[in-house]
Homo-oligomer: 373 residues x 4
């Protein structure tokens, strides 16, 4: 009998497990394959607080808080588990290729403190490899990146060291409510838990349907490739409308990402990689000579309204969701883990109100759901 | 004391070793790394007798003979070694995108028997995935392909079964002549041989220089990628001016190849793969959706006059070359092995005269070489 | 609306689809990942008719028929799809290390025609690398092997060319009966079919439970590794009680396999590989020097009584099973495909009676099942 | 014209290049393949100052200094290049399985400060996974490890940023002295340099021979494998007589290493991995269940007297060696780079005298060498 069972062993599930077990809530993660090998591993790990937000609103606050937690987590997890999460803080540039893009970035600069617009020439003095087509960039000096699979592994081991449990290679066949608890049926076993948290990313949709809600998840394939960055030696992340380039701390430069809605296939298509290459070469032509290292894909959990879904089921007590992070799963993993811990310990009242709650998906008067019989 | 030592363990070296040992000439191959892991492994394995020739001349005869030997070799090597060389005989199409290309192919059709020009519509009825930009193709029904690394492995094992020897992970540091034989110095040993055959592909150049000749080798990098051909299901090879597509018998479709002269670097560049993709997508747009499987490169041994160099050194008796096959090394491996066997057994007179001989590289009156002091 | 939908895109599912579509029964395969990437790919591909049988009974007949079908399939699929299934017919040796093992093999020799016992010395003259501990072996000259992933790919492409359809990256969430047909719910779609065939290997268990039967599937992990066989050059397969060695037509030697019941984890354990190595080195010590190439695992679908389950559900008309092939899935794929075709076209009467039928699992008077409400 | 050319682009060559260029000595590295892909990449990266030394002598001082440099280098290289060298400082345990081993470790404890012997029970309280066969261990709290390929990449990029140059995929064919400088012939170019530094690891031998010395290099193959350490979660390195286990900061546990003198082959043998597995399972039986991740090999440059060779050629001015580091190349790379810089700037007098000098290899009265004619 667990206090909570978390369905899904990606970075979100293991962050929740870490934070729950650390605060004494005995929890287990159930993962159908191996932990962190799906969308988590596919992510570049950008902590793009200011590429993902246009104004300092509540969602920005959630992002910012999450990014800041990484600083202390980095020390804490290294000490506890021996795993280095690869936190980099060289900052990001969001580049503009058109006057319109520049206009938007100048508005953004004015909206936040700590961002700084650089005209083309200033930018070229810092990154001489950019073509003239780049008319400037907004510098976000505090937004860096982490190594997603290391973060997930550190959360996983940290949770185990705090008494958590882990069931890998285990598909959840069914979840049934019985009085005050839940029976979670996996292939050769039934687990019992006081609460169930759905954190299975792009595969979460079926659990919304099973619990009487419409499926809000939009599986969105992303394809990436990596090159050896030796000739260029970027240190900061570059972010453009149709590609990004993240220089990792081991010398790889990750180029991402396509975005294909309602595509759950594992294949990395030749056309996907080709279009990314054409986009990046237009801005960084030196990369044509860079040695190709690898390519991969992941299925991100998009949502119908573009925001994550974190909180208790609107009318089924004890069922929680922590999913729908689209391309912000790595950035938001720490804050999601802490928010879920707080909700489970202290109830559903929190500053984010309907911003993230599953209940927001029940739109008034539209009768979007039928409680399951 | 070997009758012959062959420097280089690619498909050429092992074909020679196989044919020599089979006819009782005790031979050893020296390979600095592992056999067949360089240009051999990188090749798509096309037996493009008629893509590589414009007219039925002596070089065409050499190509044709080599392709034909593969049919009997396939049985012989399978029986002897258990290795299947993957011979496919579904034929090739050489496509035309312009009137000029068509004109050239019609001339070619007239020059050879067994080739057949297909107008665009006929072609589309056979391969419906081609765009309208393809105005027709020349069908070469008897030209297929093999699996190059399997051929090399089968030659290697066949040579060993016929009494041959093999030294892998062994760099040849020096070759010295002593009376009637040669001392071949490898790292911790000196081998003695009556004859030395240089078959080290793109790395053969140094041995021309060491023996008083100008270096005729032009290392030429080629980059390829492969996709899963499941959706299209090509059976015949497609050959265009800026790419080819070879459907292998295990379901992979190999797309090749860039051609970068005087480039010996191992890297597969992002730009090289990107340009190939753009070329193939223009003709086979369905391939944008094909799953990317792999990418690789190899360094082909081009030559200054575009022909292989097979035969005895023009004035140093006992030194032979079998190199410079550019992109025809797989096609020509069987005939090269047999020709070297014949030259070593019966002397330098053969039908190819100066076409392939090292001596042709000594142009009259130009004093291109200085015997080494 | 399909005539039949097959759940599971391994070699069994695609063989069924091939045989159904070829005979005009319009069928689709649904595969949750990519075709042939699980147990199919993990198999060594032995056609071990006589290692898997002790006497010429009905199951032996099924195995023998399936092996023989491969001969004609090889030509048929190559012609149709361009894929070579890698059929090898160099035969197998089942070796004995103890007098007891020898005794059993002598009984087997007497039970079948075409098998031949070889004493230790005869055997050593054929395979000189074996240690003295091998006291002899039974030679099974007609039992060879195929390349499992090629077979599956050829069936897949062949089925598509015969009008079949394929849904990959598609998890079947539910199957519901509605009058005369079935609704098969995948993530973003509902397929309709007249019949449903469960061919999902080690993951078939849930469909037995869903349809009111006890789960007869015993997921059984197997771990393998491969080496470069260049030094030894085996052509025949060796089969011992605690390992087998299969020389593939590309030069790899596959060593298998551990057998861990009720283990569905994907991991290849260090201890599993180590135990296989210790077993094989005791008999073939030369392999200590062989270069290690790869290692992998697969989950085979064992069953409670050790036999496959092929046929219609005992009381739910229109639901069929073709699963539980344990380590004989490659051997039995052709015969399973043909048997399912015959059952669907001509009904449940066939020579195998209760040997393979799902109904046999309902033991008399034991009330093993409850029809689902 | 370079001030210095370094032959060999492993961690030693790039450390030297980094230190030279940083202090204004314009230098280039020539690497026949890609930087850091041979012995450097194969190393586990232990900074085993106290596993590699028995007493606080001059060689220990060199090791200790090198380890200490890593601390400042880690910051310096991260800032300069963006590469994190992966420095870990969780310490090492050198374990004892016999009374004799314990005795030796107690002597070692007495010889150094900062080492601490732990009896079996104390050790088990820290690392409960060890078997009873471990009777205790010496704790070396300041000896950690780095990520060798990251160090090499950071040195490489750092050198380039300080004005250095790099020629990859370039084999040095010959080195000739001409007056005050050297001509270094690579395939299509001749480089000129004031000094030449041989840093080509296990392949350095030929340059000793070319310069009139006996070859002191003993190529020594080492084979390793890695597992997923999730279940055990080691943080400290374990060092035993017949294996070591290094927990890397990304969660991999590296097990090493075999040691095969005069073996330059690239193959990872099945027997090599098997023997390592048997050794480690005897002490850490839990690892039988650990998922196998990878395996690899490298050729370490051993020497005839077991010590590195760092310094100027005994009688050919301008030729330097920095090689022969056996299994201490990663540990000693920083100190080697600094020592070479000091020798080149300030001459051959240094505290290490004959300990490391090439001249020590000319033993008195033995006439070990003949100046080349």
């Amino acid at each position: 009998m667990f206090d909570a069972v978390i369905v899904g062993g990606g970075i979100i599930g293991h962050s929740i497990s870490y934070h729950l077990n650390k605060s004494g809530i005995h929890s287990a993660v159930i993962e159908k394959g191996q932990s962190g090998k799906k969308a988590t591993r596919a992510a570049a790990g950008m902590l793009g607080v200011h590429t993902e937000n246009e104004a300092p609103d509540l969602f920005h606050h959630f992002c910012l808080m999450s990014r800041n937690i990484y600083t202390s987590l980095s020390e804490e997890l290294l000490e506890l588990t021996g795993i280095d999460i690869g936190l980099s803080s060289f900052g990001m540039y969001q580049g503009a290729l058109t006057a319109q893009q520049k206009e938007k970035l100048l508005v953004k600069e004015a909206s936040f403190s700590n961002l700084k617009w650089l005209e083309g020439e200033q930018l070229k003095s810092r990154i001489p490899w950019l073509t003239e087509s780049v008319i400037g960039a907004l510098y976000m000096g505090e937004d860096g990146h982490v190594e997603p699979s290391h973060v997930c592994e550190a959360f996983k081991r940290g949770a185990l060291l705090h008494g958590g449990e882990l069931f890998e290679d285990s598909t959840v066949l069914d979840i049934e409510q019985s009085k005050d608890s839940f029976n979670i049926q996996i292939e050769n076993e039934i687990l019992k838990a006081g609460k169930v948290i759905i954190a299975s990313g792009s595969e979460s949709g079926r659990w919304f349907e099973k619990t009487g809600m419409q499926n809000p998840i939009v599986p969105t394939k992303g394809e990436c490739f990596s090159v050896d960055d030796g000739r260029i030696g970027l240190k900061e992340t570059l972010f453009f409308e149709n590609f990004y380039a993240v220089p990792k701390r081991d010398g790889r430069l990750i180029i991402g990402a396509t975005s294909k809605s309602f595509d759950s296939s594992a294949a990395v298509t030749a056309g996907g990689i080709s279009s990314l290459m054409n986009n990046v070469f237009a801005v960084l032509p030196e990369l044509t000579e860079a040695p190709l290292l690898d390519y991969w894909s992941g299925i991100r959990p998009g949502t119908v309204d573009g925001r994550p879904i974190i909180g208790e089921h609107p009318y089924l007590s004890g069922i929680y969701f922590a999913t729908g992070h689209y391309r912000n799963g790595i950035l938001l993993a720490p804050a999601t883990g802490q928010l879920m811990r707080d909700i489970i310990k202290e109830g559903n009242n929190n500053v984010y109100g309907d911003l993230l709650s599953p209940g927001r998906l029940l739109r008034k008067g539209e009768n979007m759901y039928e409680p399951s019989s």
